[in-house]
């Protein structure tokens, strides 16, 4: 039962790791293709479908543990079906590059290789989704190869590309393209040298989670390749860290929009001012900065003229589907209550750990009082019948 509970949690968890990275690629890859994401709506639906299906496939980690036939069939089928939405995203990215005019910068290198890693990790995933194949592959290095292609390939490559992409917006400075290309070469080469042969070691039957193996097993040179690759990969990561450090200190000033990107964050200075926009921008399309060249949307976005919302901290709430203005909500302002609540929580949980029951009771009481103070309906936030006057 513990295994079930673990995987019911942990399988959706791997999607929670990869889906944000997939979102970063869907967001940033089109910038380097000078072309909006192909099949945007389909990619959105595919992402949501992946997450929902992701809650119903956990048993494929446990095929070899003695599961009833019916259950094996169901979870194997569900695991096969999940390849469909993944494939939708992969083909959307490929077509975005195909129809676009790629500008090869460091982020593009990461995003493009991300697609390749995704495909390799996806195919080894489909192989293990098949119950008979999984009986053979379970507990071997094949699974180790698969997990690294999905976790490093789909998460790390996407996140590193996103780091190079958004670093100028965060810091106001560019990261070096030359050092970045070298780092990419080491990471891409080292990663594949380390983990591609692992499929082979797994197929030859090397079990995972062992620290040694007999001399004559024939795995020696494959494992040596893996070792060399892992050192190259580690060196590449070191170069990325150097690149970040160098970029922070000596990077060229980035300007507002170094990549000629279409979305809202590139319309403000780098790094952005604390208030982001002086007035709430009014959008007419998903690509407000590309509206001059794209034949899409109705009308033009207005980035510098919009509702002022300057009475305290306010935000415009819009309707879910049509994004029509619906309500001006008051956002919480600076207050000590959340901090006091966390202090009280520290006392409460610390006392529980140390079996100090009086302190625990005091901490619990303090938490409740802090929550009461925090949530007390306030006139100036328009939470009560006596809301403050608003012009």
């Amino acid at each position: 039962m513990w295994q079930h509970l673990f995987w019911i949690f942990a399988h959706p968890w791997v999607y929670i790791i990869v889906l944000p990275a997939m979102g970063m690629v869907s967001d940033a890859l089109p910038v380097f293709c000078r072309q909006p994401l192909v099949g945007y709506t389909l990619v959105v639906i595919a992402t949501i479908t992946t997450m929902i299906l992701g809650f119903g496939v956990w048993v494929h980690h446990m095929f070899a543990t003695g599961i009833p036939f019916m259950s094996l069939s169901f979870f194997s089928g569900a695991s096969f079906i999940i390849t469909i939405p993944s494939a939708v995203s992969v083909f959307a990215w490929i077509l975005t590059i195909w129809y676009g005019k790629p500008v090869v910068k460091v982020p593009f290198l990461y995003f493009a290789s991300f697609i390749v890693m995704f495909t390799i990790g996806g195919v080894s995933g489909v192989m293990t989704a098949s119950v008979p194949a999984d009986f053979q592959l379970h507990g071997t290095y094949f699974v180790v190869a698969h997990i690294h292609y999905v976790l490093i390939g789909i998460n790390l490559f996407g996140v590193l590309g996103a780091l190079y992409f958004w670093f100028p917006k965060m810091s106001g400075r560019m990261m070096s393209e030359r050092l970045g290309t070298w780092a990419f070469a080491f990471i891409f080469g080292g990663f594949n040298l380390a983990f591609l042969p692992m499929h082979w070691t797994g197929l030859m039957g090397m079990p995972r989670r062992v620290y040694t193996y007999p001399e004559g097993a024939g795995w020696g040179w494959v494992n040596m390749t893996t070792t060399v690759g892992s050192f190259l990969l580690a060196f590449g990561i070191l170069l990325v860290l150097v690149n970040v450090w160098h970029g922070l200190r000596r990077g060229k000033p980035a300007g507002d929009n170094p990549w000629d990107a279409p979305t809202l964050e590139w319309a403000v200075s780098s790094p952005p001012p604390p208030y982001n926009f002086a007035t709430a921008p009014v959008l007419a399309s998903r690509h407000p900065l590309w509206e001059d060249r794209l034949p899409e949307g109705s009308g033009r976005s207005s980035l510098h003229h919009g509702p002022l919302l300057d009475d305290g901290k306010e935000a415009m709430l819009t309707t879910v589907l049509d994004a029509e203005p619906d309500l001006v909500v008051k956002m919480p302002d600076d207050t000590l209550w959340p901090f006091l609540t966390t202090v009280a929580m520290t006392v409460f949980f610390g006392a529980l750990l140390l079996h100090l029951w009086t302190w625990a009771a005091a901490g619990l009481g303090a938490i409740l009082l802090c929550m009461l103070g925090w949530l007390w309906p306030r006139d100036d936030l328009a939470q009560t019948s006596k809301e403050a006057h608003h012009g």
Binding site: K330, P377, T384
Partner: protein, 212 residues
Amino acid sequence: MAETSGTIMDERGNEVLTFGRQGFGSIDGRSNGWWGTMTLLATEAALFVYLLFSYYYMAFHYGRTWLPAELPSFTLSGPSTVILITSSLTAWMGERSVKKDSRGGAVLWLVASLLLGAVFMGIQLKEWSDKPFMIDTDSYGSLYFTVTGFHMAHVAVGLLVLLALTVWTAVGKFDSRRRDPVSIGVIYWHFVDAVWLTVFFTFYVTTHLFQP
């Protein structure tokens, strides 16, 4: 009532956005707190799904021998379930009274929910003390006290929320439009009751339905 509205023009004098009179602040159950509570409830529901999954997993694997010799009875749990459902009804009436600007009625209904909730807690404590097993006796005892214990914790929080809402309503904090805390507290209370129905069905009803 403060409202805001207007037409936004760009530098060329073109119309960018026109919007009608906008509501302002926490209003008609559309506040951030409402949606925050919805996500909280989804998370809490997932916790109970995990706990009940564990129960059914053990029950299907080990059958009758896994259950205690004396199956959970309806003597106390039946009335306590009716009491909890009634408290949901009274809480709903309380929210309705706030929406109708009837302060006295609202306080009355909220106090009724508080009392019914407290009675439920009392009955549940009696039921706990009557059990011949403890949380560390066996896996059944462990699941029984963990699941009903988590539910009791939610009831306790719900009672504190209802208490605060009763006081705030009594001193006139809310009216028919500015009443989001009441709606949020009451939906939380409905959730606690709905969870009890699943717990009740799992521990009390299924054991009698599938007797070998």
